[in-house]
């Protein structure tokens, strides 16, 4: 069971995987891009997060997508349906906070 609210790293990884299946380097690049270079997931951090997310049932390993070169060490990951659901509730939670923060700040 992965605690709510999601650790920002986990959230960014789920967000990256919500668009397409990615391998380690792909996830690293996508997260960098999503966060305007703000979050650099170095190998140990990234793979420890992936291990936790996999164990929590939010992501799973997948086949190499069609058209990508086969490399047995390049493992691709996708969201599970649970993961997709979780990303959505997490986003809604954040949206609510954002709304509250805006209301309070004005």
């Amino acid at each position: 069971m992965i605690a709510t609210p999601l650790n920002p790293r986990y959230f960014q990884i789920l967000l990256a995987l919500s668009k397409e299946a990615l391998h380690g380097y792909g996830i690293q690049r996508a997260v960098l891009e999503q966060t305007d270079e703000g979050m650099h997931l170095w190998p140990a951090t990234l793979y420890r997060s992936l291990a936790a997310l996999e164990e929590g049932g939010l992501i799973e390993q997948s086949e190499t997508p069609v058209g990508e070169p086969e490399d047995e060490r390049r493992q691709y990951y996708v969201l599970t349906s649970e993961g997709r659901r979780r990303l959505k509730t997490e986003a809604e939670l954040m949206a609510r906070w954002v709304a509250e923060a805006r209301a309070g700040g004005s």
Binding site: H23, G24, Y25, W42, A44, R48, R74
Partner: protein, 878 residues
Amino acid sequence: MSGPGRDRWFRLLLSLFPPGFRRRRGPEMERLYRDMYEARTGGRDRPGLGFWLALTWDAGRGALGEWMALGGSVLRAWTGGGEAWAAVGTDVRFAVRQAWRQPLHSFLIVLLMAVGIAGNAAVFRVFNGLFLRPLPFDQAHELVDLDETAPQWNLEYVGVSIMDFRDWQRENETLQGMAAYSTGGANLARDGRGERVDYLAVTHTMDDVLGLDALHGRFFTEEEDSPDAPPVALLSPAFWEQSFGSDPGVVGRDVSMDGRSVQVIGVLPHKARFLGEADLWLPLREDDRSSYYLSVIGRLRPGVSVEQARADLTAVHEARAEVRSENEVTSPTVQSLRERYLGEHRVGGGLLLSAVAVVLLIACGNIAGLMFARSIARRREMRVRAALGAGRGRLVRQLLTESAVLALAGASAGTILGLWSSERLVRVVAERAPAWVTFDLDAHVLLFMVGATAGAALLFGLLPALRTSRVDAAGMGGPRSTSPSGVRRAISALVTAEVALAVALLVVSGLTVLDLFRLHAVAPGYRTEGVITYRLELPDERYPEREDRRAFMESYLDRLEAIAGVDEAALASTLPLSGHSGWFFEVEGSEIPPMDNAVVLRRWVTPSYGDALDVRLVRGRWIEQSDNREGQPPVAVVNEAFVRTHVPEGTEPVGVRIRTGGEDAPWSTIVGVAADVRHYGVDREMRPGTYEPLRWNPQPFIQVALTTSGEPAPVLSAARSVTQATDPELPLFDVRTMRERLDETLSARRATTWLIVTFSAVALLLAMAGIYGMISYSVSQRTREISIRMAMGARMAGVMREVVGRGMGLVGLGAVVGLALARVGAGVVSSLLVGVRPDTPSVYAVVTALVLGVAVLANYLPARRASRLDPMETLRGE
């Protein structure tokens, strides 16, 4: 970091993780790392330090997290989860808070621990690779080295003769299999140019004995061991990659070696490096030469011990003595592979390991001192806790947790520091160690680091914890500002022990340094500066007859001498530091049969050799040009060792006739005696030897020495073109200056020595820091007393004398104990010392003076502070 070194670093980082995580995620992480590396550099440049630091930080943090998660779940399983675990958590949190509250104290402890652990991590990694890690073969403990020894010939190992190999193979009952190999070099012709390759010739049994599977193709068959079989070869993986671009299609192709066509039948597995770096493996063509040159590996039958195999082979060997008279002189040796190839380094490795252990012990001593001092400050806290109902066990646990937290922090920093700094050490050692030795991190290293850290934490934590927790809740309050004498005694004992250990280590390192200096000062007996050396091999195909080789040598030597910048040029069968060729000599008129004499190093040289290498002539004359003419009687120059071992005492050696090779061989007349040279290295004794005219025995293997008073590089390139012009397919190999050859013989010794010196310097520094800390502490505890005494008229000098005197008393006691320890330690390592006796008094004296001198300083500084106290100020403050 560059080349394969950079990938090694990442793999090293990966090895920090628990095995389960590493297995599941390691390959992917490495893939990611490579992607990142390549993206950063485009595959050309190397990324900056920032990249490596971030990578290391990330991996270190991640590995620690994984281990802690693993440890947590194990602990939960043991304790059934719940309360006990929660209590540990509370202790840890409290310990961390305590550590934060005393930042200087904690920092010092972490620093000391890091210094102590770093050296251990670095040295143990190397020690593990050399002595503990199993060889990369199935049932590796069954593999043994077989050789022959001949003390009578003054040789520890002579190699195995092919005839003995066959006898042993046929008749032994203790071995599953035996395989023989020998090394060699050949000229490989590619695109019209010669390339020098090293090969191993092995019997077809080698794949069975070692359990090797060819990477491609197949291994040798029994028929291919026969001299008439068509020549075949296996490629090493490195050579296959570098020369054939890892093309599997090379199997079945022909290559031209020494003018013959050889078919490639396969590619060796990586494990094959075990026997030595070689580009190719060829079948060992068994001829009936009786000379001893084979290396042999055997595989014991299950359950058979090395001793049983030795007894078995000795019986087989002795039974053959009736047929082969040599068998009376030689006898088989059987030992584990590791013992044979690394046994001589065991003492040095053990010494280094002891040195780092001493550093760690001293660091622990200092930490314990800090903890003791701190325990005074915490007496109040402990009393309060005890009064509130904490049992002694609970207090000890709390205090030990505090030590453990600090130890862990220090050890983590130390391990990373140590492994990082060991990269260089590993490179130096790997160059000289057999190819099968690897230094990857493994469970041994991890266990050792965990053990050393836990041991250290207990060592410096337990005693202070027991002391501090011994409180009487009822006796709260008590007199202030006097330190309990027990604590002072404990710290004094620690300091004394530290000084003793530091002194012992310093003496041993002083002995090795002196030994190294003496070895550097040894005159080798030949010119070492401005001498370029290299080798050539004249292939049988193009130089089949002696005449052909003689003609080559004469014109080649003339051309070399004509090179601008060359002062002298000489050819020889064996140059100093470049090999051995053992023969038995008979002296005319002597009753002693040649095989009973010590073995003689025989060298064939050109007349220019003596001048070129500046070998001193003791009597008679050197080999001259006229000795080379046809029809002249054979002559020889012998060395002083030869005169000692072969010529009857009192006989004038010049004029004595000697011969080798039996009844029909011609006699050679000794015309001169040359001084002994350090042919085998400055740390090795010289054997009896001869110099004979190369012209009489123009061998296919030639070694060349060129002397120059100028820059070596242009001379070498001129020599290359001269060689090209004489024979375009002839490669120069083993090109080095004589100075380089000499330095290499001492490089392992030098590395060990400087490491020990570094460790003992650190040990001294730490011990002195301990003294300084102790005196400062005791002065700070006694400010009141000192102030009163000074207020009552005590002199400054008197106070200082008293403070310094007390410190020096402890140092003196430590030094005496240390000197005794050192004498014992020096005896243990005496096998490492060549030119220095383990009881050399000057070393002991210098170390004692050094330690006392530094100790005076360490005592003086706090004492001076004490003497400058303003009595009124202090007393008013009370």
